[in-house]
């Protein structure tokens, strides 16, 4: 762990969240929704950023959300997240997905497998939820592609308890049109219910 991370992670309620998905899955949108929900929750400092540079549909992309009770001064990129959220479990084969994830942090994966069966070793907690299953049964899709970016927020709330469902709901209502709100909220609630947690001892 780096010095700045040690410095900041000793602060309570400070979250550095890194999102991994594929271009088109909505990782960046989800990073922004979470930042907004956290602000509504009462956190003074929130930031949401894409990984800088070009993005392509289908290619691995990342994004980040920072959440803090105080105004955030850090502008450099997230190096040691305490939460990593993976929208597509096939990305787990890339080392950079769990790179820097701090001890005792959370790895949250969209997968039908229980955490133990992910075959990932590390000194962090693991949460899994079959958000794809939830969203496809609800018919939550954009241009024929099931989108799990909002649903996975349910798993985030379940694992970290950093933000309440009410704030997530408000953020969803701000961002989506009336017709889209219900299905997204249902996806989040259902994913919350089915999230499986595996905490390190």
């Amino acid at each position: 762990m780096t010095e700045s991370q040690e410095y900041y992670l000793c602060m309570q309620d400070y979250y550095e969240i890194r999102w991994h998905g594929r271009g088109g899955q909505g990782a960046i949108t989800a990073a922004k929704i979470l930042a907004q929900a956290a602000y509504l929750e009462g956190y003074q400092g929130v930031t949401a950023a894409p990984s800088f540079g070009a993005e392509r549909r289908g290619a691995p992309v990342s994004a980040s959300t920072r959440i803090s009770p105080q105004t955030i001064m850090v502008v450099s990129q997230v190096e040691n997240p305490n939460v990593v959220i993976v929208l597509d479990h096939t990305l787990l084969k890339y080392q950079e997905v769990t790179s820097g994830l701090v001890k005792g942090g959370w790895l949250i994966v969209n997968s039908w497998r229980p955490p133990k069966e992910l075959d990932i070793k590390g000194d962090f907690n693991i949460a899994t939820a079959d958000a794809t299953g939830v969203c496809s049964s609800l018919g939550l899709a954009v241009a024929g592609l099931t989108v799990v970016n909002t649903a996975i927020l349910g798993a985030f709330i379940r694992a970290t308890e950093a933000v309440g469902m009410a704030s997530i709901e408000k953020a969803i209502r701000e961002r989506f049109s009336n017709g889209e709100v219900g299905i997204n909220l249902a996806a989040i609630a259902q994913t919350y219910e089915i999230t499986k947690l595996e905490k390190i001892g």
């Binding site: 930042a35 602000y39 509504l40 949401a48 950023a49 894409p50 800088f52 540079g53 502008v75 961002r175």
Partner: protein
């Protein structure tokens, strides 16, 4: 760009905005009348958003699509000459392409405002952040303001109009590409009513008017010369003197406007730079733009280790706040200047300014210069800490000022 909550204390709303949307909101609240721009990464969302405002009639401006950045600023310059409040935004190669018109806008003393979303310049190609683009335009006669966060982007654009229209100098509001332009954070968006009170409708001193035809910016001879009406007119050099004089005097306007802004909106911009813990500091970090935020974290860490560290975050680079900088740095024994630009063959541009300001003053600080963050290279607080520690160590070893800057990179 999402509405979040109404605050009771001020009549503003807090939105979670990225830097580009903050810039677009700033231009909209300033009631700009003519917008001309050409898309370029990472600036494009600024003008896309403004074109949507115009399309939805939320902003009563003319949006003029052009074929290049040179034309964009030519349109703004011309529109400004007939008395419109104008706005454009660009980055990197776009700003370089505007270079000639930058001189033209400043030389013609037009209150144009430009948002520069700082991006590295090729070759080699890069879309990522550094400040080489706006620093390369340092000598065009524009006022340059650098924002540390998205709130400052919005606030600076509104202030920029008030400054530009008082001193008749164009203003460039610069902010870091991606680091601010594409990063969302809470921003207080003032009401139109409050902004109207701060920045009244533009009263142009119309220069070109079909009812009163005139020539303007003609070939101007070296020496003053009597015109057709027998009046002695300035030569080229006198006009240049007046531009320099206006830049020198603009310091007072910039700080007054910043203070007035603070009185109305609760965020004061009464200084040309941001100070953090300078009171007891004997080590001072100098940085400009978002890096001055990261430096706060570095100073926290260095203070924790027992060093008396403060920060001077340059906000206005042109005009350069010489005497204030001297005062701020007077007590320091070490000044570490971080530059996201390089004036090839010498050093970082802000370092040169700091050295030049301190010459002849009682300040005796040793100055170190580090080149950082070029082409989007991430700059971490711990790297700033390492640079300060390294400087302290070499100082202990008796190394005073170095001839050339050090680089935080792999070589």
């Amino acid at each position: 760009m999402i509405f979040v909550s109404k605050k009771k204390t001020r009549k503003a709303s807090t939105w979670i905005l990225d830097g580009n949307h903050a810039a677009a909101q700033g231009a909209k609240l300033s009631r700009v009348q003519v917008i001309a721009a050409y898309p370029i990464t990472p600036q494009s969302p600024v003008t896309e958003t403004l074109s949507e405002f115009v399309e939805r009639r939320e902003l009563g401006a003319q949006y003029i699509a052009v074929e290049s950045e040179h034309s964009a600023l030519a349109v703004c310059t011309s529109a400004s000459m007939v008395g419109a409040r104008t706005f454009t935004a660009t980055s990197a190669h776009g700003l370089a392409y505007m270079h000639e018109m930058l001189h033209w806008a400043a030389g013609a003393r037009l209150p144009v405002v430009l948002a520069c979303v700082n991006r590295a310049i090729g070759a080699p190609w890069s879309v990522l952040n550094d400040q080489q683009d706006s620093i390369s335009q340092r000598d065009t006669g524009w006022i340059q303001i650098y924002a540390r966060n998205n709130q400052e982007i919005l606030d600076s654009i509104i202030q920029a109009y008030k400054i530009a229209e008082s001193v008749y100098i164009p203003v460039m509001v610069c902010y870091d590409g991606y680091i601010l332009s594409h990063t969302e954070m809470p921003v207080d968006v003032p009401t139109q009513e409050d902004v109207d009170r701060f920045l009244p409708q533009y009263k142009p001193h119309t220069i070109l008017d079909p009812a009163n035809p005139k020539n303007y910016n003609l070939v101007t001879l070296a020496n003053p010369r009597v015109n057709a009406e027998g009046v002695l007119c300035h030569g080229y050099m006198e006009l240049r003197y007046l531009l320099q004089e206006a830049l020198q005097n603009s310091r007072e306007t910039i700080t007054t406007v910043g203070r007035e802004f603070g009185e109305l909106f609760g965020r004061s911009y009464a200084r040309m730079f941001w100070e953090d813990r300078l009171d007891d500091a004997d080590i001072i970090i100098v940085a400009m733009g978002s890096l001055a935020m990261e430096a706060i974290v570095a100073a926290d860490m260095l203070r924790e280790a027992g060093h008396k560290v403060g920060i001077l975050g340059l906000r206005v680079f042109r005009p350069f706040p010489k005497s204030d900088v001297v005062q701020a740095l007077e007590k320091a024994r070490l000044v570490v200047v971080f530059d996201k630009n390089i004036s090839y063959g010498i050093e970082g541009a802000t370092c040169s300014e700091i050295k030049s300001a301190l010459y002849g003053s009682p300040a005796r600080a040793v100055i170190r210069n580090f080149i950082v963050g070029l082409g989007g290279r991430d700059v971490k607080a711990r790297e700033l800490v390492d640079a300060v520690n390294k400087s302290l160590l070499s100082l202990k070893e008796g190394v005073l000022n170095k001839e050339y800057p050090e680089w935080i990179c792999a070589i």
